[in-house]
Symmetry: C2
Subunit: 333 residues, 2 copies
DNA sequence: AACGTTGGTTACAACGTTGTAGGAATGCGG
DNA sequence: CCGCATTCCTACAACGTTGTAACCAACGTT
């Protein structure tokens, strides 16, 4: 039912290789031969067998994007940008939601390399770069956090600075008891560590000092975690007048918990997030956030990968920083 | 750098085929040979070349999931379930965000079939099944709406009934001027048509009659579209006391617009959505919605595909209906 | 003792493609 | 009209895997 080069060749009265040449745009083919071949291709609705091509060329034209969860809108948005950027290179993207656990991420990184994939863009949650064995020299670009130095290409944003700016922004609005939600509960979450560092730096700069009771760790970064942490903060009597959540979904959960507690935002408590997901532009109130340039992150990552695939496998790992922008909205007005 | 069966074979002192047999769990291999081979596999960190295997077997072990946009949380959640269900069959899922336009969907459906994929789960937005040519007998399962009869397997929910139930629910709460947001503006959007049908049916049953001015079409189903449509309804003087949005993101946009207009939900206007995305459980107010059983939808789709791949390519197309549940929350309390 | 049976292993071909090497036809300058 | 380059095309091998057929050894039956 499905045709091969051979079928097209027979129909056009040429050799298999000539058909291959036409398919691949090889220049030295007589116009009339080319026309005959193209006609045959069209008639038979021929489509190249990618497995065979890949086997022959050692390239698959597919890159993988491994993210913790697509349900986290940040990653869904990022995935869209990666797909777009990859399309410019003619690549298909295999989006792989890992689940975010250390074991799952290890499996993803290992299992994905089975020659199905030319390269990997990986946004790890639990793993350090050292854990990423089994890639056997397959190019990889790590996203999002400076997990580690010198082991692979990275695309990051300046988490420390961004978190410091946001905290400073809250201080500038007159807030003094600024809580943080989403601090790392375990060694996991390089991003959390960096954002926490920026947060404390800003407090120190402002002479506010770090208050342990205002810092709430969370098991994950979902809305439910944000709501639970917020409730905990309120119950604990810590009395925050602002909350800096380390991502937007946490912040949306916090908004919800504050609402349930009968507190007004930003009147009683100001709320800030991180990531600039679409929800935050429509929530009530809209959400102040740090907006990383996701489109740029995606393009830088894809371009880094392209560089590796184009040749310089052995160039030293690069680390590129994408810009971010503090975006004030109603929740801190 | 990367090893082949041959390398393992040499190291273990056996033939290539024996290694292949070990890798594939062929039973008749002497325990000590098996052990030697496995040791060699481990030492060399051998991984089978999937392109070669696929070429040989005519199967890739990859199925594609084509959805309009991952940014729409419904599809992100669905994707997660599909990945999980597919994993039970040992399949990898290639998630392909099409963008939703007719041309893009056509390209997706066509270009994806290049032997890279064993089957396709497709959630079309613009396309009818007739448009899906070029699959050349590759099994496909259509998701979400009853686009068409008898051309491919379908997994649907009963959109008409669900929409009727929701509308009846709103009527039962005493609402009389019930608006609908998200009606189809073009032939596109089978789901929209069906939900509109359920909506009108309920109105008719209740003797309320269909009021054109209460029905707002939208170009797409994003939050921004919902907000715009809501604003339009309010400005038009239609004075709805309830709004049934054809998905949750539209509803979240509508909530926002109502908030900006200074109207209370559900006090002044009740709001209902469709899809049960996570956002709706944390929005202020939480969102009444129709909850399709996404996990079931995904599993049914994957199982249908499994059936086709297992053999019966020519069985008549099946249509399976997944259950849904009306889920009242604060927005219609 | 000759026989089929089963277990364990191997050689070979094939999947559909493209790179390489080279052959046949054509064009051009002398 | 010869020699040489260029254009156009082809045959062949190879990418790494697995199905097929076939083989040898060991075994239990007759």
């Amino acid at each position: 039912m499905r045709h091969r080069l051979k079928d097209v060749a027979e129909r056009a009265g040429v050799s298999v290789k000539t058909v291959s040449n036409v398919v691949n745009g090889y220049p030295h083919v007589r116009p009339d031969t080319r026309a005959r071949v193209e006609a045959a291709i069209a008639e038979l609705r021929y489509r190249p067998n990618l497995s065979a091509r890949n086997l022959r060329k050692g390239r698959t034209g597919v890159i993988a994007l491994a993210v913790p969860e697509l349900d986290i809108p940040y990653f869904a948005e990022l995935a869209r940008h990666v797909v777009t950027a990859a399309a410019d290179h003619g690549w298909t993207v295999l989006i792989h939601p890992t689940g975010g656990g250390p074991e799952q991420e290890r499996v993803a990184a290992a299992g994905i390399g089975d020659h199905m994939i030319d390269g990997l863009i990986f946004s790890p949650l639990s793993l350090d770069a050292e854990d990423l064995t089994g890639l056997d020299g397959m190019p990889m670009v790590l996203l999002g956090e400076r997990v580690d130095h010198g082991l692979a290409d990275h695309v990051v944003i300046d988490n420390v600075t961004a978190a410091r700016e946001m905290t400073t922004h809250l201080i500038g609005l007159g807030r003094r008891r600024i809580a943080a939600i989403g601090s790392p509960r375990t060694p996991e979450g390089a991003g959390a560590r960096l954002r926490l560092a920026g947060y404390t730096a800003a407090l120190t700069e402002a002479g506010l000092g770090y208050d342990e009771s205002l810092v709430a760790p969370t098991p994950a970064w979902h809305r439910a975690d944000g709501a639970a942490a917020m409730r905990h903060l309120l119950d604990s009597g810590a009395r925050p007048d602002a909350v800096f959540c380390f991502n937007d979904t946490l912040a949306l959960g916090a908004l919800r918990a504050l609402h349930e507690a009968g507190l007004r935002v930003p009147g009683d408590v100001a709320v800030a997030g991180f990531d600039d997901i679409e929800d935050g532009r429509f929530s009530v109130p809209t959400l102040t956030t740090v907006a990383p340039d996701k489109e740029r992150i995606a393009r830088l990552a894809v371009d880094l990968l392209a560089g590796r695939l184009a040749g310089d496998r052995d160039a030293p790992p690069r680390e590129l920083t994408a810009p971010h922008r503090l975006t004030p909205r109603e929740s801190t007005a």
